[in-house]
Amino acid sequence: MRILVNGETRDVPEGTTLQGLLQSLGLRREALVAEVNRKIVEKTQDSALGLQEGDQVELIQFVGGG
């Protein structure tokens, strides 16, 4: 199925969870905040959150700023 991650189209297997997506991207959960369809996902919910076709995932981190 196709989802949008940070604005980029990605093909992921059916049934992929948010946790699975983060693992496949090699991202450390503690360093990021995740939104699915503009709703923030608590860290404890990652494994329960099954992604759906067309979902918009945003993965946000702290960067330098003033």
């Binding site: 905040v33 946000i60 330098g64 003033g66």
Partner: protein, 264 residues
């Protein structure tokens, strides 16, 4: 025994929403050539609050170090900003993301109007302040140097109002000290100069006006020698604060001899 410089600084803390700080210099983490240099500059500046921004993670960079890997969170309070937000909704969303990190409920609220001036949108800024205060954030609001707006922001519950000395990154110093003085008379919450500082004398000047603290990024990060400037900013912040309390002499038109004129 007379108090030392350090005792005078330590003995003059300030608070935001119940949290106490002794450093009156807040430093941004953007624009440094390397993260190592940033860490050294933060250390040299003596700051206790650092601003950070939130952005999308670049995909396909597995295992890359993030900003947080460089910041000792036991030492620094994170002040996430809403930089780059041009309306209330975006700013509130970024604040939610910042708090969801679990690392800070401080927010440097900035809602901008246009990209050329980076001046704040006063109406959206006020609106977002109200929302975030209600949601329990410690809200430090970036604003223009308008005394009326500063009062409205305080009434909306802002924990600090932070007028720009001059436009962000412009290095022009404090262009309208009279407005800052009026804000200081009218507003009881902490007032910080946020943006516009170019060099150490700008910082000292701002602190001499009586603001609680100064926030800067570009002035240090883009100095020819950022580390040296970080030291300079620390000292000028402290010097300005000490001078504010010490009380300057009035300016006079004519000379007044320092040395007795009689009894040669």
């Amino acid at each position: 025994m007379a108090q030392t410089h350090q005792q005078l600084i330590q003995g003059d803390p300030w608070t935001i929403n119940g949290k106490q700080f002794t450093s009156r210099l807040l430093v941004g983490t953007g624009k440094y050539t390397t993260n190592e240099l940033m860490v050294d500059c933060l250390e040299a500046s003596g700051c206790q609050i650092v601003t950070v921004a939130l952005r999308r993670i670049p995909l396909g960079q597995k295992g890359e170090k993030s900003l947080l890997d460089y910041l000792d969170l036991k030492k620094y309070t994170l002040l996430p900003n809403t930089a780059g937000c041009f309306n209330t909704e975006e700013a509130v969303r970024v604040a939610h993301l910042a708090r969801a990190s679990g690392l800070s409920d401080f927010i440097k609220l900035e809602v901008l109007y246009d990209e050329q001036t980076l001046l704040p949108d006063p109406i959206a800024t006020l609106e977002a302040t109200k929302i975030l205060v209600q949601e329990g954030y410690t809200v430090m609001t970036y604003t223009s140097d308008d005394p009326v707006l500063a009062q409205k922001l305080e009434q909306a519950g802002a924990h600090a109002v932070m007028p720009a000395g001059s436009p962000i990154g412009s290095g022009q110093g404090v262009l309208n000290p009279n407005n800052i003085r009026i804000i200081l008379e009218k507003v009881k919450c902490p007032v910080l100069i946020d943006a516009g500082v170019g060099t150490a004398s700008d910082t000292a000047f701002a602190m001499e006006l009586g603001v609680q603290a100064v926030l800067m990024n570009t002035a240090i990060a883009h100095a020819k020698d950022p580390l040296r400037m970080a030291h300079a900013m620390r000292e000028s912040t402290e010097a300005g604060r000490l001078a504010f309390h010490a009380g300057r002499i009035p300016k006079k038109l004519y000379a007044q001899a320092s040395t007795p004129q009689k009894d040669f």
